[in-house]
Symmetry: C2
Subunit: 361 residues, 2 copies
């Protein structure tokens, strides 16, 4: 088992990465000084595979868990579902010392984290991410959120878990499309912070695609380390943390303007990252060679690298981009790369340049 520490003073916590961790959930929670009552929030897909093991492990360690299952999919990340969870927590009489276990992918983690952040003005929570995307990204760093009709993650809280358990065995049941989507965030860490990781991904791609446990353990732990380091320096996204959004300005706009669910998050940000690489070439002088390596790696993984848009779709996409949280006083700012492993944030990009790049020019 690999352990990554997220250094946030008295709110520091550990990310544990390894096989068989779900069956140790109760034992791992026991030293955290939490109350006995807890709620496992999961979705209808994940529940089939893992909720039994989670409840069993918690009960065996003396906890009293209740299971809350929401429908699988992004549509559960909305206020009405948050309220349903609250009502169930109240019915089960969860108290201030009680805690929530988020068992599932990014949707469950974001939803359950927001519920934990706001129920009784905040109770403890433990993340048990079961998708690759959630293990390397959404479960780490304390961002929680739900969507509004107007956009993705427009509501939320910065709220840190007490513990993150990344069980590598959970990845074995992941549908191929979802697994590959998760690789988009992994490649991102290479681009923004770690040229060596990027080169390793290029080299070890076959093993990664085969879900080789040793390769996954090393890669996931390294990604968590990078994220923990960035979050430790800038918890509430006042500066540096923005680099984690490489490819996300366009990516979120694609997700939003095409209707949630058409593109998986990883697919949308793969397109967004390739576009951001091209913008980086024009604005920061990222070499054509690096742009080509980036585009090639995403393509080899099996992720989309461009999007075809009608005029109406393009307008919708730009409207979505302008509502993004990363907009400040109406200007669209990007994270752009100088070279693989080094990025800058707050780069202003003219709208024409964005349009040209999205048109493939």
């Amino acid at each position: 088992m690999r352990i990554v520490n997220v250094p946030l003073g008295h709110r520091s916590y550990a990310i544990k990465v390894g096989g068989g961790l779900l069956s140790r959930l109760g034992a791992e929670c026991a030293p955290l000084k939490l109350g006995r009552r807890c709620a496992v929030i999961t979705d209808s897909n994940v529940s089939k595979h893992f909720s039994k093991a989670a409840l069993k492990s918690l009960s065996a360690s003396g906890f009293q868990p209740v299971l809350i299952t929401v429908p699988a999919g992004e549509k559960s990340k909305r206020i009405a579902m948050v309220e349903k969870c609250y009502d169930q927590l109240a019915a089960h009489r969860l108290e201030r010392k009680s805690f929530i276990v988020a068992l599932g992918g990014g949707v469950v983690g974001d939803l359950a984290g927001f519920v934990a952040a706001t129920y009784l003005r905040g109770i403890s929570f433990v993340q048990v991410p079961t998708t690759l995307l959630a293990q390397v990204d959404s479960s780490v760093g304390g961002k929680t959120g739900v969507n509004l009709r107007a956009g993705k993650n427009l509501v939320g809280a910065f709220y840190q878990p007490q513990l993150v358990l990344c069980d590598l065995d959970a990845l074995k049941t992941l549908p191929k499309r979802e697994y590959i989507s998760g690789l988009a965030e992994i490649i991102k860490y290479g681009i923004i912070c770690d040229a060596i990781l990027f080169a390793q991904l290029e080299r070890n791609l076959p093993k990664l695609l085969q879900r080789d446990t040793a390769t996954l353990a090393a890669v996931i732990a390294r990604c968590c380390e990078i994220k923990a380091d960035v979050v430790g320096q800038d918890e509430t996204e006042n500066g540096l943390r923005a680099i984690l959004n490489f490819g996300h300005t366009i990516g979120h706009a694609i997700e939003n303007s095409s209707g949630y669910g058409k593109f998986l998050h990883g697919e949308a940000i793969a397109i967004g990252q390739v576009a951001a690489a091209k913008l980086s070439h024009e604005i920061l002088g990222l070499s054509s060679h690096d742009v080509a390596r980036i585009e090639k790696l995403f393509a080899q993984v099996g992720l989309p690298v461009k999007i075809k848009l009608s005029v109406a779709q393009r307008e919708k996409l730009f409207a979505a981009m302008k509502l993004d949280k990363k907009v400040s006083d109406g200007e669209i700012k990007f994270v752009l790369a100088k070279k693989i492993g080094k990025v800058e944030f707050g780069c202003k990009v003219p709208v024409e340049t964005i349009e040209r790049v999205l048109n493939g020019g």
Copy 2:
């Protein structure tokens, strides 16, 4: 103008108490380095009196305010209303640097504060409390919240404003019943922390009931000072802050079990405080003389000091008490007084004693 500072490190802020402050709202916000776009959240009653002045003052200082009006009353403190506010903020394109002004009483402050705490994972907000209760209590200290069907304030966040403006002129339009309700919290500060304040209230009651500006300025500033001091020592209610809940365990249960709106908050906690004083006599040896002074002051102010309950109502009340956030591992804990000006928190009280006291025994 009196200024009270709330010492919370980089989240410190000022409470300003005086006449004519609403017309200075824009000027007071100007030095806070906030974005230009803002939303004034208010209710249908308060809006009639004050929203025009608030918007005018903000516009005059270069801000671009939008007005969001919710129906007056506790019923607006619910998740569906929170979502309506989010949608309006998104429609008005509020960004991370934008801010919210909470213009109104406790309901508006709690609702708008929760919206500010969670929209875009938190934007700035300014409290302009227009009721006595909000000026001395809910606007100070960073507690925000909304109700669930299961209970009051079961959802919320600890989230500090950037500024609190208590305009004493706003109190002139307050209905008598509401004004008197606010006095219940003021008396509370005397009981929990300041025997001199309590004696002043006994002495200056006629002036206070006449809403004399000089008397109000001194009393409100002193209450804010006490609350700021307590909150500065314990922001997230891990210990000391509990003393602010003197009278609230029973008070909240009365509000909840009798249906929101039957008793005003101040009326419910007046009954709760008199009951807590009687419990204090039994458990901590509070003198009969102090119990009598407390009961007399509430009665002289015009607040209820006891409640008549049927068996069914009593059962409902106890059920509500057990769901309170101050319950820990199923035990009901109270804040009790040793003498006027000195309280202890975390006092366990047998259920029979609570029943006897509520029965007037």
